[in-house]
């Protein structure tokens, strides 16, 4: 590893904005925050607040039977907005299924995202439009995809010197969680990315809980220490500190983009809500645990900083609340208006061309469905 890489690894937990809203100087990372002005700070708060509002509306829609499932992200807004805002539009993102905040930074429509959770689409948005891949429901399956994509970037950019790569090159961000960190695919993906110097930033949101499994069961050491085993720099960052996440991700992307290989970021955060709407965290974790994390909420500390430095006024928050409600109402309206594709449509999407077996199965399905004709209307309310 280079000297810079070692420096990154030796930093300990990177924190720029304390839970009390105090901004700390940082010798290494301040250089990566030079452009952060009041407008950008207000923007980060707005991103996080809108993401949280969206998350609430989607949770309510699920409880009202309008979504099959929802994956709440409350508490992880800073890790997602900070890292998402560090990417370039040409960078490619591989999310898990919880990266609603990253999606916002990639201009993916919140409404469109609900198609998947409404059960009417296998994806919901075109990944090529925003370089934001489809959500991956299978834990860690996106990790080898990310390494492969990164290796392909190297092929595309073969012969570029470091300066050209830094200026025009692409990079990949692979999101994963502490639960996925122990999947075999994560290991393989990290091995490949390092062996081939793929420009991949492995961004772990360590939210402390893999459904009901606490992190200390998942790993005896902080994940950041694993980076050394693969030969890449590892950065542990306060995942509820949007500035620290932004700076660390910018450093990591610069490192990867310029051809120096992958980086592991472990963003320490906390899932304040349930794993999904089908989960009840009271069954496996103590309320004290949740209370201890509540004051570290990413929105609180940025709000405190903005207020104390007179960067915002009350009107800012009032407007944001109104905008949030309008956005939520639109998402609700859009989601309910999505046409439901007939199941028969799924048969068209298996092969590019007609296929005898699929045709046969489609015929059987249509006949089966016709058998319910006398019950038609049962499901309509």
């Amino acid at each position: 590893m280079s000297r810079a890489a070692n420096e990154a690894t030796d930093q300990g937990l990177v924190q720029i904005l304390t839970p009390e809203g105090q901004r700390l100087p940082n010798q290494m990372y301040d250089a990566y925050l030079g452009d952060v002005d009041d407008d950008m700070l207000r923007g980060f708060y707005r991103d996080m607040a809108l993401t949280r509002r969206f998350d609430q509306e989607a949770t309510a829609l699920q409880r009202q039977g309008q979504l099959c499932l929802w994956v709440p992200l409350r508490g992880q807004e800073a890790a997602q907005i900070g890292s998402g805002r560090a990417t370039r539009p040409s960078d490619y993102i591989f999310p898990t299924y919880r990266e609603h905040g990253v999606a916002l930074t990639r201009n993916v429509s919140f409404s469109e995202m609900l198609r998947l959770f409404r059960g009417i689409s296998g994806g919901g948005w075109d990944p090529r439009e925003n370089n934001f891949h489809m959500y991956t429901m299978v834990l860690a399956a996106q990790m080898p995809h990310a390494s492969g994509y990164g290796m392909a970037i190297n092929l595309d950019q073969h012969g570029w010197d470091e300066a050209k790569r830094a200026a025009e090159g692409d990079a990949v961000v692979a999101y994963f969680g502490d639960g996925s960190s122990t999947e075999g695919e994560t290991h393989e993906a990290m091995v490949f990315a390092n062996s081939f110097n793929a420009p991949v930033v492995f961004f772990c949101q360590n939210n402390q809980w893999a459904i009901s499994v606490p992190f200390d069961v998942q790993s005896k050491v902080d994940l950041v220490h694993r980076a050394a085993g693969y030969g890449m720099p590892g950065i542990q960052v306060d995942g509820n500190d949007v500035l620290a996440v932004l700076a660390a991700t910018r450093w990591a992307l610069e490192h990867a983009r310029s051809g120096k290989g992958p980086v592991l970021i472990e963003a320490m955060t906390y899932r304040l809500g349930a794993h999904t709407t089908a989960d009840d965290p009271t069954k496996y974790r103590m309320s004290e645990d949740e209370l201890a994390w509540a004051p570290k909420d990413p929105l609180i500390r940025l709000e405190t900083y903005l207020r104390e430095n007179k960067i915002v006024d009350e009107a800012f928050f009032a407007q944001l609340a109104t905008d949030g409600d309008e956005m939520a109402a639109k998402v609700r309206k859009d989601a309910m208006a999505f046409p439901v594709p007939p199941l028969a449509k799924s048969f068209e999407q298996v092969y590019a061309e007609a296929h005898p077996l699929i045709q046969e199965e489609l015929a059987w399905h249509l006949e089966y469905e016709a058998g319910f004709a006398d019950e038609s209307g049962v499901g309509e309310k």
């Binding site: 607040a49 309510a60 099959c68 944001l320 019950e375």
Partner: protein, 474 residues
């Protein structure tokens, strides 16, 4: 009128129990206002209302089980609020709550997931685009309800902390109930539910008192045998047609009989009773259940009574004694230690094992000792040593729903306290009749040792703790 059917809030759930309604008929609701808390096989879930309007009907009562896709609430989207006069109170259908203070955990009202129902989800045709498109009329109103969800975006730092604290408070009872649950694996719970057996009634013999499949089956077997036998009982003899069924008196029955005769005819019994308002004890027990120190430990009003008896005996030590006939005449042996006996119904019959040196135990240790004693007794593993050298006993007849009785002294002891059932009864407080948790304490004493005034003082002391457990802190 818009009817909202119960959605599947988990993945593939078929039913849910109504834990509590947050609105009543006639209330005005907004979009996303929480209107009911339901309990599914997976979790307690609050449901936000999808429509704004006036509630015109709640289709189920608290405790009822509702199938997915069945009506839950009807809302008149153009309605005016009405006064809830003449609206019948929701009828409690299941889980009528009668706290008993047995060592068994209390009824798990609103806790403990229902086992998955065997009901297959009804075949329904998919909603057509037109049906889906009809919904947005409600959606349009979403924008109007800025304060729909508990969280709003511009919340202050402090506000968020409080909200989290509220959330946590809300969840605590669920956690406490969870800790209190009878241990059993899900398939065993399912078996019990399918058989219509209340798993709380089954005595567990597995590891740590876990209820096993065999326990449920044997409980059911016994129930069926009793049920089957009942119609043919009268006029049909069991052994060769004889209408009088003879059985040899042996074992614990024999020992019990001998001890009771010895006690009843050697010690002149005097019994006294006192009604007690145990509401504070109930509150105290509820608080202990939530306390971290008592996590995983069963806590019941019996624990408070046991402490009360120990406390009162120290103030009236003559009750903790025995009458001993010696060659040089009778002696009274007053004990400066408490081996507290607890009468227990066991597979072998009535036994009175005791907690040795109960006076040295703090509340938590005593709770553990009571649990161990009950567990050992239920498993039929009480040893003779466990029953030796008791100094004073409690008989917990309230477990059986009995108000009180005149207990017979455990031989060698001079006092026994009977703990009746705790029920809500009308009670006069400051001239007003209010519902309070009332129990009756009964005590029998050996009049050779304990005079009337002393027994009365002892019982009054015990009663005072049940009325105000805080006195234990003195």
């Amino acid at each position: 009128m818009t009817v909202f059917n119960l959605p599947d809030v988990g993945e593939g759930l078929t039913e849910a129990d109504i834990a509590s309604w947050k609105v009543s008929v006639g209330d005005t609701v907004e979009v996303n206002q929480i209107f009911v808390e339901i309990e599914t096989a997976k979790s307690l879930v609050e449901l936000p209302c999808p429509f704004a309007g006036v509630v015109t009907e709640l289709h189920a009562s608290e405790g009822d089980t509702v199938l997915v896709d069945q009506p839950l609430i009807t809302i008149d989207e153009e309605g005016e609020p009405v006064l809830p006069t003449g609206v019948p109170e929701p009828v409690q259908v299941a889980n009528t709550e009668t706290p008993n203070h047995s060592e068994e955990p209390g009824p798990l009202v609103g806790s403990g997931p229902a086992a998955d129902s065997a009901v297959r989800r009804a075949r329904t045709s998919r909603p057509t685009p037109s049906a889906v498109a009809a919904r947005p009329s409600a959606a349009n109103k979403a924008g109007a309800s800025a304060a729909g969800l508990a969280d709003t975006i511009s919340r202050r730092a402090q506000g968020l902390g409080q909200a989290v604290a509220r959330e946590v408070d809300r969840r605590k009872p669920a956690m406490a109930n969870f800790m209190d649950r009878v241990l059993a694996k899900p398939p065993v719970r399912r078996l019990a539910k399918d058989l219509g057996v209340d798993i709380n009634e089954v005595i567990g013999t597995g590891v740590q008192g876990e209820v096993t499949r065999e326990d449920v089956n044997s409980y059911q077997g016994q129930r069926e045998a009793e049920r089957d036998a009942a119609p043919t009982y009268w006029g049909h003899g069991a052994q060769g047609g004889a209408l009088i069924e003879r059985s040899q008196v042996r074992g614990v029955r024999k020992a019990t009989a001998k001890a009771m005769v010895a006690s009843a005819f050697s010690a002149p019994h005097v019994s006294i009773f006192v009604d007690v308002d145990a509401s504070r004890t109930m509150e105290y027990v509820a608080r202990l259940k939530k306390s971290r120190d008592f996590e995983g430990i069963k806590v019941s009003p019996l624990l408070v009574l046991a402490r009360a008896v120990i406390w009162a005996a120290a103030r009236n030590p003559s009750v903790n004694a025995s009458w001993v006939e010696t060659e040089s005449g009778a002696e009274i042996h007053q004990k400066h230690f408490m081996n507290l006996g607890i009468a227990a119904a066991t597979p072998r019959g009535l036994l009175v094992p005791n907690i040795k040196n109960a006076h040295t135990l703090n509340m938590r240790e005593l709770a553990i000792a009571l649990n161990d004693l009950a567990m050992t007794a239920r498993a039929g593993k009480t040893s003779p040593e466990d029953m030796r050298e008791g100094t004073l006993s409690i008989t917990n007849i309230g477990v059986l729903g009995i108000d009180t009785g005149t207990p017979i002294l455990n031989p060698g002891e001079v006092a026994i306290v009977a703990f009746g059932t705790i029920k809500q009864k009308p009670w006069v407080v400051d001239g007003e009749v209010v519902p309070r948790w009332i129990t009756t304490l009964g005590g029998s004493f050996d009049h050779r040792v304990v005079d009337g005034d002393l027994s009365a003082r002892f019982m009054a002391d015990v009663a005072s703790i049940m009325e105000e457990p805080a006195l234990l802190l003195d």
